[in-house]
Each structure stands twice: as C-alpha cells, then as structure tokens.
Symmetry: C2
Subunit: 158 residues, 2 copies
C-alpha cells in the first residue's frame, strides 16, 4: 500500500500506530491538481497558475470573519497518501539522501502540508476563500487557517 522505497531510503522499524490526538477535518482545498499532474511544491504551482479555493465545512464558516482579501494566510492540510515511517529520503531532485526533517516531502511522521498563500476572494457566509496558489490534490482535507504574522513566521535575525 505504501509507495515503494528508493535506494538509500530508511524506514523506522517497528513503529506503533500513531496514538496522539485526532485531527478534525474542517474543510477541503479545491485545486486544478490530481495524482498525475500535481506540482512538487507551491513555487512550481504558483508558476503554473495553480489558483485554488478553500471550502470550509459550513460549521466553521463564521471563523473566517476578520480575514481580508489580499492578506497572507498559512494553510495546514493533510496529505493522506504519504508515508509516515521514513527517516531518510531520496527525493528525485536531490543527490543522495537526507533526513526527513531536513526536507519538505509529504512523507513525514505527520503528513501535514504547510503553505503561505494570499487570499484572493472571501465569502464568510459561504465559508469559501480564493487563494493565489496551492500545491495539493483537489479535495485535500484542510486542518487549519492561520493569519501569517511576521513575528511568528519570518525567520528571526541572527
């Protein structure tokens, strides 16, 4: 069921099933992308004109109030098809292998995708929000929307 390993990839042996808190799926991300044509990252998606849309479960629509068109937000989404047991990986665009926490691969202990996007339209009543780009399959489960803020999301000065 898991994707096959590439040369040099290392799996964490004997992992128990995840037993932490359960996520709540709050909506879906709509995109142009599917399994065959999904860009590798948000930069590529943006370059290809991959505009997208957030469709919240109606219950959560009121929680959009206070956001504004033009504002950057951080989206967290669940990449359900990814492996959760890889310690070292060999992505196609990298020579050799690298530890999972040193790359942005969806294959990680918790398959959470993270992207900063700009709001292009907003309908709080409908629970929908246009976004300038996104790098996941159409229908990807959404788990959070946060306003992007410089103090938390920009690397600190050295």
């Amino acid at each position: 069921m898991d994707a096959p390993l590439r040369p040099g990839e290392v799996v964490a042996d004997g992992l128990a099933e995840p037993d932490g808190p359960r996520l709540r799926i709050i909506g879906r991300i709509r995109s142009r992308w599917g399994a065959g044509d999904c860009p590798r990252n948000i930069g590529t998606a943006r370059a290809q004109g991959g505009v997208g849309k957030v469709e919240l479960d109606p219950t959560f629509a009121p929680a959009l109030d206070g956001l504004a068109v033009g504002q950057p937000v951080v989206l967290l989404y669940w990449l359900g098809g990814a492996r959760r047991d890889l310690l070292r990986q060999s992505p196609r665009h990298i020579q050799g292998t690298r530890g999972t926490f040193a790359i942005r691969s969806p294959n990680r202990p918790n398959s959470i995708g993270l992207a900063t996007v700009r709001i292009t339209s907003l309908d709080v009543a409908a629970g929908t929000m246009g976004i300038d780009a996104i790098d996941c399959y159409d229908g990807t489960p959404l788990i959070d929307i946060k306003p992007w803020v410089e103090r938390a999301d920009l690397p600190p000065a050295r």
Copy 2:
C-alpha cells in the same frame, strides 16, 4: 474542563468528536515556560530570552540529518490545553471579537502551534536541537519540524 468563555465568544454547537487522522507525537519541546508565565507569542518569548530545545523520541533522531546550525525551521506542536470549539474569540489584546481563523490563538479546531525558529545547536545522534526561542510550555508535544523555505513560507508578491 474547558476554559470559560469571554463576552462575545461563540462556540460551535453540537460538534462531534474529531474523527480525522491521529497525530504521532515525535518528541517534546523544552522551554522555560509554564502555565503561569508563558508568553502570549513567539515575539514576546524571543524578547524575554526564551531559548528552548527540541528533544526527539530516539526513533526519529536520524531524521534530523541534513539540518544545520543557523538554519530557520518551522516547528509544529500540539497545544493540548486549548479549546477546539470556538468560532469567535475575544483575546485580551484585541477590542471586540474575531473569527478563530483570523487570529493565532491556540484555541482552534486543531490545536496546532506554529513558529519559525533558528537552530542554535544540533546533535543528530542524541536527537536534540537548540532553538533561539519558543512560546509554549515545557514538555509540549512536538509533531513536525520542517526546513523554512522562502517559496513556501514567505507571502507571495501581490
């Protein structure tokens, strides 16, 4: 058990228990902070000299390989004490109320904290990493470490 509501706060009625994927706790964040003195955000923590440390479960230590001291990383952590049912909130530092997705409050459908920090030391064999600051309680469960990358984490040009 939940924190009491403030005036104007709105709860999502009749929410079922979360039934999405289960998280895997991959380690703990060590900090100077506890329930009485934890800064409200990473900016304040940084100003107060709130250096911290990541301690991975030994299983995941090898996944740090490829990171480097000085590099910025995004940490995702689980804020277990937060409410998951608030649609509108009235944070102490804001006049009036605001939708949950318009603020960075830990009270959100999925209690995931997010901060970009700089690596100050790294011991892959031990599975530990010093970080320049953090804004959560000592012992907070860690769920992901991602390298900060401009294309995904910086707001796109308008």
